[in-house]
């Protein structure tokens, strides 16, 4: 029998859906990172006591740092399982550019680890006495910033494949690169709380997202090819 051809778009959606399906069948993995964010962010109000002013002042940075860390915790999962069982090889010698495959895996990673944070962060923000306007900007800044975290993180995840102690190395590689996202993400929320416009910070987050979208999948794809050699 002669098989039917499949389009690039359809293959890309299959790669994406496969990662979502696999994650769904191992729900505990995603849930643990998600709850890490909730717990880590909730520790601050508990530890600092009930000073609404102080909590309000530190909220943007605390929430953003927690988002950064929980995103980083989930990074090793992006390619490691595929590397171990040999599916990564198959992905790389598929008839589509590795760049597109990497992009789909990054997108799946964001949907599984970044998007839940965007959705739950406003709720956590309430603990910090943030008002509606600030919560909106917080969610928006995370919506623009977390995809950049996944994109930049993919480079670190790909570079550390197959290395011992890769987890710590990812942190060392990736956290410095996360700094601009943290600065402008938290900065946007801070700006709103002192009555300024958040548009500057948000625009820069958008610009970083656009830049990362162009370069990160390319670099990650190259790093993956090096990793499997």
């Amino acid at each position: 029998m002669i098989n039917n051809k499949i389009s690039t778009l359809s293959l890309m959606s299959r790669v994406f859906m496969r990662d979502i399906t696999l994650a769904w069948r191992r729900r505990s993995d995603i849930m643990s990172v998600f709850f890490f964010f909730i717990i880590a962010a909730s520790l601050f109000p508990l530890g600092l006591g009930a000073d609404p002013k102080l909590l309000h002042a530190i909220a943007p940075s605390v929430l953003w740092v927690c988002a950064l860390l929980s995103c980083m915790l989930s990074l090793p999962r992006m390619f490691a399982a595929d590397y171990v069982d040999g599916t990564l090889e198959q992905l790389i010698i598929s008839n589509q550019p590795t760049l597109l495959i990497a992009l789909m895996k990054i997108l799946a990673h964001w949907v599984l680890s970044g998007l839940p944070l965007v959705l739950v962060a406003p709720l956590i923000g309430l603990q910090f006495n943030l008002n509606v306007n600030e919560l909106q900007v917080l969610a928006l800044s995370l919506l623009l910033g977390t995809p950049t975290l996944s994109l930049i993180g993919s480079i670190g995840a790909a570079l550390t494949l197959g290395l011992r102690g890769g987890g710590v190395l990812i942190a060392l590689l990736v956290l410095p690169l996360y700094i601009p996202v943290l600065v402008f993400g938290a900065g946007a929320v801070n700006a709103v709380s002192i009555g300024m416009s958040a548009s500057g910070g948000l625009s820069l987050l958008g610009a970083m997202l656009a830049l990362a979208m162009v370069f990160a999948p390319l670099t990650a794809a190259y790093a993956l090819k090096v990793a499997i050699e």
């Binding site: 039917n4 069982d85 599916t87 992905l91 790389i92 010698i93 598929s94």
Partner: protein, 218 residues
């Protein structure tokens, strides 16, 4: 649809590979045409797997070129990958997907789709149809191996998939299955397919189809 048998050439010239300080192999040259099998022989550690990975584009050679129909595979990239079916040491099977899901995904990576019935048909040919909907986590090594090999039953048209590169395809298989796989590979080659494989068992192929390549100093 009637398709004529393909005539492709895989040419390798002066291929060499260095790993660290060690020369794994050097000056390997051969031409392989459609309708032939290349049996790569050599001791453990002689570089068989590396050679096969180089031929399918996973590893870069330290010297020499691999060409497909006179075009370098480096330049062809995806156009070449789409014509090669590589089954390596690692089965490339996801533990959390069922056998059918695994097969469907593997096939889509080479650019085609198969429906559930086709996938089950291939599993039947390999005698594991009853595992079709089980997560492969619960299967044995041999059964996982068979799921990986099921692709050979779905991509057996040399017009669509002209080259198979198989690294130790007979490991973890029982005697019956080995015979079946040998026959299947031979049919594919007779239809105009090209196969490169390694094996420590001496396979019972028609000697007229087989071209040998010895690695290491034997």
């Amino acid at each position: 649809m009637e398709l004529t048998a393909p005539s492709n050439v895989l040419s390798v010239s002066n291929l060499g590979c260095i790993r660290g300080e060690r020369v794994l192999f050097k000056n390997i040259s051969f031409d392989l045409i459609s309708g032939k099998l290349l049996y790569v022989q050599g001791e453990n550690g002689s570089g068989k797997t590396t050679l096969l990975r180089t031929l399918c584009g996973l590893s870069m050679p330290s010297a020499g070129e691999v060409s497909w129909n006179n075009q370098k595979i480096k330049t062809l990239a995806e156009d070449y990958y789409g014509q090669v079916l590589y089954i390596g040491h690692l089965a490339g099977i996801k533990d959390d997907l069922s056998a059918v899901e695994n097969i469907q995904f593997s096939i889509s990576l080479s650019g085609y789709t198969v429906d559930r019935e086709q996938a089950i048909g291939a599993l039947e040919a390999l005698g594991i149809a009853r595992c079709a909907d089980l997560h492969t986590r619960v299967l044995s090594q041999g059964q996982k191996r068979r799921i990986a090999l099921a692709q050979l039953w779905l991509q057996n048209h040399p017009q669509q998939m002209p080259l198979w590169i198989l690294d130790e395809p007979f490991t973890a298989l029982d005697g019956n299955m080995i015979t079946k796989l040998t026959q299947h590979i031979e049919t594919y080659v007779n239809n105009g397919g090209m196969v490169i494989f390694t094996s420590h068992q001496i396979p019972a192929f028609n000697p007229l189809l087989v071209q040998s390549l010895q690695l290491g100093d034997a």
